[in-house]
Amino acid sequence: MNTMPEKHYLNEKRGWKSWLFTLDHKRIGILYLYGIMAAFLVGGVFAMLVRLELLHPGRDLMDAKTYNQFFTLHGAVMIFLFIIPSIPAALGNFVLPQMLGAKDVAFPKLNLASWYIYVVGALVAIYSIYAGGVDTGWTFYTPYSTTTSTSVVAMTLGAFILGFSSIFTGLNFIVTIHKMRAPGMTWFKMPLFIWGLYATAIIQVMATPVLGITLLLLIMERVLAVGIFDPAMGGDPVLFQHFFWFYSHPAVYIMILPGMGIISELIATFSQKKIFGYKAIAFSSLAIAFISFLVWGHHMFVSGQSQLASMIFSFLTFLVGIPSGIKVFNWVATMYKGIIRFDTPMLYALAFLFLFTIGGLTGIFLGTLATDVHLHDTYFVVAHFHYVMMGGTVMAFLGGIHFWWPKMWGRMFNKKWALLSWLLIFIGFNMTFFTQFILGTKGMPRRYYNYLDQYQPLHAFSSYGSWVLGLGFLIMAVYLFYSIKRGPVAGNNPWGSLTFEWKSSSPPPVANFETEPILKHGPYDYDKIIPERTYS
């Protein structure tokens, strides 16, 4: 029988002050987790309302203006408040120092500061809802964003502040990975999740400042009418798009790379096999980070960009397919002849493989100049984006949550309910978004409030899917929260994993390890050691 450790990071100190002033990376990770879960709920409710409105052509429950604000808020909240911080700031914060065998991240105060900055940024963004909302879409394209009467300044200021939080997390992780590894933990003995977080942190640090200056310029444009983006004053609105996508394309890799890292952990652990092509996976993360800075122009194929530039950007965009493909093939090869266990985290890893591959391949359609002219700004783009971001990142995030949940709380969730919830999410997701590929190829433009009758059945089916999806998440919320207090005790290593964080008790002690950890084997040496599972 497993028993809970007497002292651990959750009960060593008690009271709300011990949480709000904590410098413990694990607690900060949990604080982030609460923040992003709240954001996910808000963004999800907006999404459900948008889908509800689209059930029939014309008005169902809101007018066009409100609808514009709702899809903007759905996008902005999900991107800036949920996906970007989700895996790095919540799970990464919790796991990274443990995986490296360190006591904490390099700069614990900066870490806590980044959470407070996140909260402030979120509050400013929420304030924009009260101050009139935003109806520009999450991309804030000029000149519309400089002329609309909605509160663009508050929302962009919120995103600007959130950028600092993201930079601080990235900075902290880079330094921690460089300087805080346990004795014996060489670069190529690091778990692949760390490589994913490392590549992510590089993008966070190098791309976010450009978003910062872009948003600052947008605010200046609105407040002082400086004319940089205003064609009437000799400015260029396409310059805004260049600036914006110079950040926001790499940003989609801020969103997906840590997810890919989690998948590497899950596939190796639940196949009980040495990961296939460790170095290839590690370097492909860096390759994706590098290429991500060179492809922003694929968002401007129809914005009047020169033909030559479009061709180069199109070619460079295809290059992203190579490292992504390397990863997918290596994961599949890892599973080959493995002893696969279909525990909840693995189910999400498999969902990721399936959905991310669809998302990645449809990205090639959009990167191709000729097809993009047809598909640009249709539901095809919406579907592609959601297959990568929700089918990819969110599935990986959920896999990671279920994987490290027993490490966080020391208790296991109910696997039967988890299976049901996974099934609903998987089915609901495909109902909602696969339909949108079809809608897009049939010519349904994205972001439209009204549409022709011929699209109604597909729109309705997509909306039904969103209800299935919502139900799946509802069930998950219930069984996860229930398990925190009442789940069965999980033990130190419930999944039989070889990485460092499973060597300590669950939940871990404040200093992460009872004794100084020493690396005796690689993170995936399942050919030599099969660790015992403390829970089945």
Partner: protein, 215 residues
């Protein structure tokens, strides 16, 4: 690591020794400076694009910047970088008094820079050489001269904010030095402040020729 490390007052609990601690701090600072360069990078790109599109207008508009005051400010900032670097050297040699004096001089020079900038700004505001729609001056030939002043004010303004932030940090470091926080064994915060201050200086060294010396 296994030998009981001497945990001095300044060594944080999660580092195993002070070398690891100061190496981490320096790496962190360099990464932060990288983000600063990228932040300004956006403005430099905007500058390059609009100057390439309106070379004549940029040439005509730049004549209204005061080269003498700009050059004076360049000298002021470079000197302040020198005093900053010397203050670190003095702390390495354990001369706390000298360190404080040099930091104070750095702080004063930063203030001089801002005062000169204030006179430059107020002269332009007086003439109506302002960004965007507030531009009312009529003496400059070429398309959209307000764009030049938009870029001028945003670049020097953002730089000015960094000077102001630098003054805050230098003042705080000065206070910590007088409190006796630092010694030849531990002076990382002064060193990091120096790195930041040199960057602020460097950015001005790029801004000065780009804005004042077109032609």
């Amino acid at each position: 690591m296994s030998t009981p490390a001497k945990h001095s007052a300044y060594l944080a609990h999660h580092f195993s020794d002070s070398i690891q601690q100061s190496d981490s701090a320096k790496l962190g600072m360099w990464i932060f400076l990288l983000t600063e360069i990228l932040l300004f990078g956006g403005l430099f790109v905007a500058y390059a694009i609009y100057r390439a599109w309106n070379p004549d207008m940029f040439y005509n508009a730049h004549k209204y910047l005061d080269v003498t005051l700009g050059a004076l400010n360049t000298v002021v900032l470079i000197t302040s970088s020198l005093t900053m670097a010397l203050s670190i050297r003095c702390m390495q040699l354990g001369n706390r008094k000298r360190t404080m004096h040099l930091l104070l001089v750095t702080l004063i020079l930063a203030g001089v820079f801002l005062i000169v900038k204030y006179f430059e700004y107020s002269h332009k505001i007086h003439l109506g050489q302002l960004p965007g729609k507030y531009y009312t001056f009529t003496g400059i030939e070429g398309n959209n001269p307000h764009i030049f002043f938009s870029i001028y004010f945003m670049m020097t303004g953002l730089h000015g904010i960094h000077v102001l932030a630098g003054m805050g940090v230098i003042g705080w470091i000065l206070k910590r030095t007088s409190r006796g926080d630092f010694s030849p064994e531990y002076y990382t915060p002064i060193e990091l402040t120096g790195l930041y201050w040199h960057l602020v200086d460097m950015i001005w060294i790029f801004l000065f020729p780009l804005l004042y010396l077109i032609g």
